[in-house]
Amino acid sequence: MEGLWVALLGLLTAGYFALAGFDYGVGLLFRFVGRDEAERTGVIRTMTPFFLGNEVWLVAAVGVLFGAFPRLEGELLSAHHGSFVTILVGLVMFTAAVQLRSHPLWDVPLVAGALIVAAGWGVLLGNVLGGPPFLWAAGLVTMFLLHGAVFLTWRLHGPLRSRAVLLARVLIAPSAAFVVAAVLLSGPVQAPTYGWAGATLVLFLLGGTWPALRRRLYLLAFLCTATTCAVPALAVFGAQAVVTTETMSHAPTLEALTWPALAVLPLVLVFQWTTWWMSRATR
């Protein structure tokens, strides 16, 4: 029972970073990939059909955290009060701006929000791990930028795609450098295996992104960078053994929550898949 809930929390967290990661990347990049307003609108609209679906993975993850890991929820959020408040402020700016963007002026909160959220998660993970927060802030921004660029190589065509491919290639090496630096500069951790495994997997996937882009296997490249975005949070929380059974709810609560969770998750997956499938059909 406990294992199921740890797995669910991990899945929702990974889903959030893998999906919302490209939202923030596209938010940071669309003004560079698109040269005029029409192009920029076109670029950002490759992301918007998935936007609501992507962001709610975080809401679901925190819901599970509250219901199934209440003592971790209180501990984690209040201990990193400043980081979470910053992330939330960025998230609110980004969420509102993406959905209401009717004028280029909205790009100010949109780009700023994406940057604050990406850097905020980096600072948070750096603090949890005991690594340098600045490095982690820059690192997560770089990884989300790469993920966004790769998403755009998959969803765009013509000169816009060429620009996205160029950006993605430029961003691979800094992402790999961040992973190496993060491992070297991390403090002592409880379970180093998670850190090593995560870093190795990310480096392997980044190594795969390059040839995938060269061979125009854009979907494959996208799957690689999606996984690279999901790994850091899991690796950091795993390495510091943050999630323990002591922080979890007792059996009756977990039992009461199991059926709703098992019923909803497949539904959400089916409906989110439908959105992806529909956008493929009309592209």
Binding site: G63, E73, E75, V85, P260
Partner: protein
């Protein structure tokens, strides 16, 4: 003000803002679902146009409301970690169900509804808006279950200094839940009815050419308000005996903001009930439009149900003090170990952001309202890719 005061003020301010968005979201989604149903059944273009116009207002409001909702969810752990520590096993359960069953699904359905406009078959698309509405109600359902637990904790036992869940169905059977949930739903429908009425009246004041469009909208709004308000008032007064039994002294000792809130709520509820029923006969042959002066009252009346709802909420929550979980956990004992500066930072940051959101919501809705129904193929949301 100390960290406790700041944390309480922050909760009151952010929840009030959030509640404003939620009320309009719940009210409008119902109205939009009904309009879309009529559009699907009759194939009359006016119903499809109404769905699009009111649907856009709904989507704008939802877009900003979801942003406030995310902050609400985090706030418990950020500022009130004592609550998660002590009562998380019980209080966290309905909140987790809310985020999983309702919020997660609702946003997914809404994304598909927005994106599926003109792409999906009309019956599938219609089913989606009803699913959005149902999951929105489910959201309110579980939030009120959680809130009722704070008012009257049931279904738990205390062991090793923390609460454990022993009876999940008891949370739903909580006497402080059922009527309060109905009351909130009816209040949201009243907000929707008054909003529809006020916006339509504005267009008649501006001598709109869209007479048929706004006549139908105005009638829907007035009739909805007239049908809902008697039940709203009945369910409201029906709660006093329950409060008297489980929270003795709450109604008698009430003073300050809570007491004023209760007074405003009752007066506004009665006024809306009387005025909506006086207006119903005037719908005959558009008398109410020809008389003109009621139109101005309708526009002025738009904020009233919002004020009433905030008043009622203040009464419910302030009347619970000094308890966070009634009789079990004091508010001051649940505060997170966060410095006063940290709390001040989050209070200022969230209040500023929420104020900007509320103003942006108001400006955007006002602009869409002024523009009126346009026949250019404007998408229902900027989230929709150009076809």
């Amino acid at each position: 003000m100390d960290a406790l005061g700041l944390a309480r003020l922050q909760f009151a301010v952010t929840t009030s803002f959030h509640f404003l968005f939620v009320l309009l979201t719940l009210g409008l989604v119902t109205v939009v679902a009904v309009m879309q149903t009529r559009a699907a059944l009759t194939d009359k273009p006016v119903h499809a146009r109404m769905t699009r116009f009111w649907g856009r207002l709904y989507v704008v409001n939802y877009a900003l409301g979801i942003a406030t909702g995310i902050v609400m969810e985090f706030q418990f752990g950020l500022n009130w970690s004592g609550l998660s520590h002590y009562a998380g096993d019980v209080f966290g359960a309905p909140l987790a169900v809310e985020t999983l069953v309702a919020f997660f699904l609702e946003s997914t359905f809404l994304g598909l509804w927005i994106f599926g406009w003109d792409r999906l078959g009309k019956w599938v698309h219609l089913a989606l808006i009803w699913l959005v509405a149902l999951t929105a109600y489910a959201s309110a359902f579980w939030i009120m279950v959680a809130n009722a637990f704070l008012q009257h904790p049931v279904g738990h036992e205390e062991r090793d200094g923390v609460l454990r869940l022993v009876d999940f169905p008891a949370l739903v059977a909580n006497p402080l839940f059922g009527l309060a949930f109905l009351h909130v739903l009816l209040a949201a429908l009243t907000v929707g009815g008054v909003f529809l009425t006020g916006v339509s009246a504005y267009h008649f004041i501006k001598r709109t050419a869209e007479v048929d469009f706004f006549r139908r909208s105005l009638r829907t709004g007035v009739v909805l308000t007239a049908i809902v308000t008697p039940f709203l008032i009945g369910v409201g007064f029906g709660q006093f005996p329950i409060i008297g039994e489980f929270q003795p002294g709450k109604t008698e000792d009430v003073s300050g903001a809570g007491g004023a809130g209760l007074g405003f709520m009752i007066q506004i509820g009665l006024v809306l009930f009387l005025v909506s029923w006086l207006t119903v006969p005037l719908l005959f042959r558009d008398w109410v439009v020809r008389m003109r002066f009621p139109l101005y009252l309708m526009v002025i009346g738009i904020p009233l149900p919002f004020i009433a709802a905030i008043g009622g909420w203040l009464f419910r929550e302030l009347g619970r003090q000094p308890w966070l979980v009634y009789g079990l956990l004091r508010t001051e004992d649940a505060l997170s170990d966060v410095s006063r500066e940290g709390m001040l930072f989050s209070f200022i940051a969230f209040t500023a952001v929420f104020a900007v959101l509320a103003i942006a919501d108001w400006i955007l809705i006002a602009r869409l309202v002024r523009r009126g129904p346009v026949d250019a193929p404007a998408p229902v949301s900027p989230l929709v890719p150009a076809l």
